[in-house]
Symmetry: C2
DNA sequence: GTCTATAAATGGATAGAC
DNA sequence: GTCTATCCATTTATAGAC
């Protein structure tokens, strides 16, 4: 049960992530981080070996986030036997609101994008989070939706590409630059809904009134 | 007719762009730039007011690149009266090989992506180059292809989104991280060809053997 | 666990010689 | 147009007091 007042180490990580995600690693000094927390630089060095160590610990802590998503989702999937459009829409939107737009995940992804040119670890994590693993998971899910009879296609991979390309597009266009304002949130929601409608016109099985 | 041996000013810009695009503005020192050119720091200050000035001049020089593309393309378009799939494919691939993958344009875009979080100018240019203007141009071109009878759709904007999302996807996945090796070039070519085939199955008018 | 003080290095920028 | 020399601010990092 170790408990410093309010876990300075975690506060340092949070502050560092916030600043790194805006300005990039090298533009942020230890003073910036400690100053923002009302500490002196030396206090940082009590908790971390050096500046790079903060970055590395941040990356490690997000490894866990990544690995926890697919199993959680698989567990949810197992319970479902029939999927309606409403549920599909909700899950798609939730991927944005609870993951890509979630404050810390969003900050982490911004940081990776800035750093992936000079940092091998950042490059690997960015590609895993944004492409390799995202596509793999989507293939799994869409295959399952095909088996459930909610989607139809003769080429699941192409279908996933169609879907995922738009996700990446919206992410880079709206969620990586500047603040995520309410206006941005509305834009994302509208664009995503339009995209899913379009997607289901092509790959959906339930013919509706629309 | 002013001509320093081989235009040091331009060499500084080239070197700065190369380094900025890899490490980001703040991680590159004046010493890094001058050192790589076999000069002393003070030589840089003869050509530029300060470090920020180098960045600003780089941005200005690319303003011209951006504005020269649509008129050039429009002039080419005016000459054409009939479009075959071969020509369409060629133009799509050329957008990658001669623009997104072209060394300097690619470096500049990488730099913008790194800097757009802290630099207003970078943010504006990135969005213009990658989204606003790219989409506008594509709408123009695809509208023209619809009129020529090469494409058909009841929603040009959606068609453009389908197309452009994949371009942005391929760009961010393959062209913004690490070296653009021959392997990467092949991957891009293959993916793009697959995408265009898929795209024409949906929006093309010429039914072919395939 | 945080502070003061300080070392050591790095980076931006200028003055003036050549 | 480039160099030497130098200045000053910032930054990383450590030692030792509290």
């Amino acid at each position: 049960m170790k408990k410093e007042k309010k876990d300075t180490k975690q506060l340092i990580l949070d502050t560092a992530l916030e600043l790194f995600s805006k300005r990039g690693y090298s533009a942020v000094s230890i003073r910036d981080i400690s100053g923002k927390l009302g500490l002196k630089e030396s206090a940082i060095y009590y908790h971390f070996k050096n500046k790079q160590d903060i970055f590395d610990v941040l990356c490690q802590s997000f490894e866990n986030v990544i690995y926890s998503i697919p199993p959680n989702f698989a567990a949810e999937m197992a319970k479902v036997t029939k999927v309606e459009k409403e549920a599909f829409l909700m899950v798609c939107h939730s991927y944005f609101t609870n993951y890509l737009m979630e404050e810390r995940v969003n900050q982490f992804l911004r940081m990776l994008i800035i750093e992936h040119g000079i940092n091998e670890v950042a490059a690997k994590m960015y590609h895993r989070m944004m492409y390799d693993e995202a596509v793999d998971n989507q293939i799994l899910i869409f295959n399952w939706l095909v088996q459930l009879g909610f989607l139809k296609t003769d080429n699941v991979e192409r279908m996933v590409m169609d879907y995922h390309a738009m996700v990446v597009y919206l992410f880079h266009r709206y969620l990586i630059c500047g603040e995520i304002t309410d206006k941005v949130k509305r834009t994302i929601a509208e664009e995503l809904t339009k995209h899913i409608d379009h997607f289901l016109e092509r790959y959906g099985t339930c013919k509706e009134g629309k």
